[in-house]
């Protein structure tokens, strides 16, 4: 099964079960790769439907302070694409939910687009999200990713015009990642009104699931946002737990993941739009 098929299967199953997707994010190698492997397993066991694994970058200009610090910690431990791929292929033996890479473009470009997509697919990765790669520049990556069955998951923003949303929808595989606010990760409070309009517009162009992220930290916020989409991404809130609790973080990460998933399962909020 390819990554694209794996994601399709996951979202189809969630829909059947009348659940919204919980996508959890963490930075690979924060504080080291062994801890990341543990956190991935813990998140999967606690109910995460998809895990987004950040490849750390020296200049994360779309991220807020929490993920900036996590990236710096990971890089200081010598984390890079090759040892992340190694860790993922080991974790893949035990974790069956979709795993997505989130990376700035340069680390992937320097690894080599074709080599990266091949190695990622082989390690059991299902898709990639590149925050600094708008549709205009995504062609080269999308071509090789598709040939390896990897989903290229584009971002849509509150500022995106209709024309741009059409292009984004045409490029997307797996799902579309909707940015809830103009801003960087983990800082602003989410405005649900804006999300509603944006997801409705995207749904005019595609059947793909639409998930929302940026600024969602609590089960209450997850429920509020999930009314308007097919799932939510929670990142900085989990990364903060890893930062603050160190070796004790797996328990807290599991607890928050479970609470978020329960909130998204408790009441089916109805199809968006």
């Amino acid at each position: 099964m390819t990554g694209i098929e794996h994601l399709y299967q996951t979202f189809t199953m969630l829909k059947k079960r009348q659940e919204k997707a919980l996508i959890t994010y963490l930075v690979a190698g924060d504080p080291d790769l062994k801890a990341t492997a543990r956190h991935i397993e813990v998140m999967a066991q606690a109910g995460a439907d998809v895990i987004e694994l950040g490849i750390p970058f020296s200049d994360p200009s779309a991220d807020g302070p929490v993920i900036q610090r996590a990236s710096a910690r990971a890089l200081s431990k010598g984390t890079h694409s090759a040892n992340i791929l190694q860790m993922v292929s080991e974790v893949r033996q035990r974790v069956t939910i979709p795993l997505i890479f989130m990376s700035y473009y340069n680390p992937i470009l320097q690894y080599g687009l074709t080599q990266f997509c091949q190695d990622a697919a082989q390690a059991g990765v299902d898709g990639v999200i590149i925050p600094d790669l708008p549709v205009e520049e995504a062609g080269p990556l999308a071509t090789v990713a598709l040939s390896k069955g990897l989903a290229v998951i584009p971002l849509a923003a509150p500022t995106s015009t209709r024309q741009r949303l059409a292009k984004i929808a045409a490029l997307a595989q797996g799902f579309i990642y909707c940015v809830t606010v103009t801003g960087i990760t983990g800082t602003k409070q989410v405005v649900t009104g804006e999300i509603n309009g944006l997801t409705r517009q995207i749904k005019e162009f595609t059947e793909l699931p639409v998930v929302a992220g940026f600024g969602i930290a609590t089960p209450e916020q997850a429920i509020a946002v999930a009314q308007h989409c097919d799932g939510v991404v929670v990142g900085s809130a989990l990364v903060r737990l890893i930062e603050e609790l160190g070796e004790n973080s797996p328990q807290a990460v599991a607890d928050l993941t479970r609470q978020l998933k329960e909130a998204l399962t408790m009441e089916y909020i109805g199809a968006p739009g």
Binding site: S58, S61, N106, P107, P134, T182
Partner: protein
């Protein structure tokens, strides 16, 4: 040569930014294209460049320096004589007048040496706009006079402590501000770097340097210079200087990068001489980076050149061979700082001292029938603390 529609100079450039910013870039491209076709915008820019900045800046034949070097006649394009003391204001006048046309009242900028920050704060004050400048912690220390100047001009200066606390980190933070306030904020980039249309737009606003200098050389000497030299950090003064000389194939063009403690060390900022292409801050261009594509810490004694990237048009000009890029060390730049101060009574900025160091080497290999034009991009007053420290002199 303009870039293509997607902002590419050959294979370099593009728009590698988050989706949130793409509509803002599309809006900027439209507004800039429209303004370029409006004679009243051109007149407005020309008016402020003449009456506010003090253009045209002169070229000056550095007779004593030339005699001492004993090669080509050295001419200096005196961008240091502009209002605020550097070439940076040519661009900020253009961009902020454009911002006003677009109805944007809040301006953000990044700054390294502080010259772009000062130039942005200056024009923002004059046009009554709110101005926020991001500056690395390390740079705020070594360029402290400029920090105070910006505050006197009414700008908010925000300290950036992340990363190396220098220009690249200030640019990361300015981009984070822009993505957060994109609907009412204009990002005034100070170099020919960043996503399209910035490399093209900043070059166009800075091209006045070479346009004037070409006429002035013909007026004063009767010929074009044999060689034109400028320093390259992000590359705005050099791109502005080179642009109108590009079609004159007989004119040799040389860009001088910051060699820091030497290209064989990891303490330099020479993207073109010692880097390889990659994506940072919105465009694909040469970068100082490690094997994994992480941006490497860079070093230069000059805050304005202490940047791991370079504008995409320079990358194109390097590969095409039209411009030759060399690097000089901190020490060579300092020597040239002292040399120009003593021979000509001009304190050059440490950035411009790199261009001078390159020029002195090149001029020595030329004959006295030939001429060499250097872009003296800024004045050195802001650097006296750094120079004093290097000399072991304690200033009050």
């Amino acid at each position: 040569m303009p870039p293509d529609k997607r902002g590419y100079f050959g294979s370099y450039g593009g728009t590698f930014v988050p989706e949130t910013l793409m509509p803002a870039l599309e809006e900027l491209i439209m507004a800039y294209q429209k303004a370029q076709q409006q004679p009243d915008f051109q007149r407005e820019v020309a008016y402020y460049l003449k009456h506010y900045v003090g253009r045209p800046s002169p070229i000056y034949f550095a007779a004593t320096l030339s005699k001492q070097i004993g090669g080509a006649d050295i001419y200096l394009k005196r961008e240091d004589l502009n209002h605020t003391g550097a070439h940076k204001i040519n661009n900020t006048v253009g961009q902020l007048l454009l911002a006003r046309r677009m109805g944007k009242q809040r301006i953000v900028a990044e700054t390294g040496a502080g010259q772009h920050g000062v130039a942005t704060a200056t024009v923002a004050a004059m046009l009554g706009m709110k101005c926020v400048v991001y500056m690395g912690e390390e740079d705020m220390y070594r360029q402290s006079p400029n920090v105070f100047r910006m505050r006197l001009l009414g700008a908010e200066v925000v300290k950036v402590s992340s990363g190396s606390g220098t220009l690249k980190d200030a640019m990361n933070e300015a981009m984070r501000d822009w993505v957060t306030h994109v609907r009412d904020t204009f990002y005034c980039i100070g170099s020919v770097a960043g996503p399209h249309p910035y490399p093209m737009m900043v070059r166009d606003f800075q091209a006045i340097i070479g346009l004037e200098a070409r006429e002035q050389m013909l007026d004063q000497r009767g010929t074009l210079p044999d060689c034109v030299v400028a320093c390259v950090g992000g590359g705005s003064n050099s791109m502005g200087m080179f642009y109108h000389f590009l079609p004159h194939k007989q004119v040799k063009l040389v860009g001088v990068e910051a060699g820091g403690l030497g290209l064989q060390t990891d303490r330099h900022a020479a993207a073109l001489s010692a880097g390889r292409p990659g994506v940072l801050h919105g465009s694909y261009s040469y970068l100082v980076q490690d094997a994994e594509g992480q941006i490497s810490p860079v070093h230069s004694i000059s805050a304005g050149l202490d940047y791991p990237g370079v504008g995409p048009e320079h990358s194109y000009l390097k590969d095409s061979g039209r411009v030759q890029y060399i690097a000089v060390s901190d020490e060579e730049a300092l020597d040239s700082f002292h040399l120009l101060s003593r021979t000509e009574g001009i304190l050059p900025a440490l950035e411009s001292s790199h261009a001078l160091a390159g020029a002195v080497k090149l001029a020595a290999q030329m004959n006295n029938q030939q001429s060499l034009l250097v872009c003296l991009s800024g004045r050195g007053d802001k650097d006296v603390h750094t120079v004093a420290k290097e000399m072991g002199v304690a200033l009050p």
